[in-house]
Subunit: 123 residues, 2 copies
């Protein structure tokens, strides 16, 4: 990552604008509104670079699979809209991991996925 390019810029801009976890296809589609010729291989290459640089993190979700989100966010969970399939970040956490864990299990972390409909899809 030694030179600035429109493509990489467009990709980062997509994250700044949409501010939610994004799949490869969402990144590609949104990035093309800026660059047009943006190629999938370029997206993959830049995502890898941005993860290495620590600007993005890659996470795996049960459903869409691999998605990327901006690094450095505080503890949060994810909401997936069953209508538009988009993922959203839900800040805060109403979950006490110690309550649920049976004896013998030592819990070190947790992830919560909520499913439902997002504001845009609720009319």
């Amino acid at each position: 990552m030694k030179r600035k390019t429109n493509q990489r810029n467009a990709i980062q801009e997509v994250f700044r604008k949409l501010d939610r976890p994004l799949s490869i296809d969402e990144i590609l589609k949104a990035g093309r509104e800026t660059v047009g010729t943006l190629n999938q291989a370029t997206v993959y290459r830049n995502l890898k670079l941005l993860v290495q640089k620590g600007w993005l993190i890659k996470i795996r979700t049960p459903e869409p699979g691999a998605v990327y989100e901006k690094a450095g966010k505080e503890h949060h969970h994810h909401f997936q809209c069953r209508s538009c399939d988009r993922l959203f970040e839900i800040s805060g956490c109403a979950f006490n991991e110690h309550i649920s864990t049976p004896p013998g299990f030592v819990t070190e972390g947790h992830e919560v996925y909520l499913y439902g409909t997002c504001p845009a899809c609720n009319e």
Copy 2:
């Protein structure tokens, strides 16, 4: 699914015995202790049949990917051991989905994944 076979029997027995969500490889490995010649394609075919029949459900988890568990269990979540990678069912639920949801989002369901070490791996 018109005939009983040792292979299908072995697969169902694996679920009854281990009583936790299982990946294809775990099913294959455990099933071979009974059948020996059990083939991966046979496992795939029988899992599909058992899901159709409603005896199993297929779930996707962030990490191992596709796993299968016996159908009809009540609301529960999953615990994955970071040491042995096995998945476990955690009954009950210390999570109130309405507390976390920002206005505009309508939550219909949730899944919780806990990570840590299982009793067997804690010595």
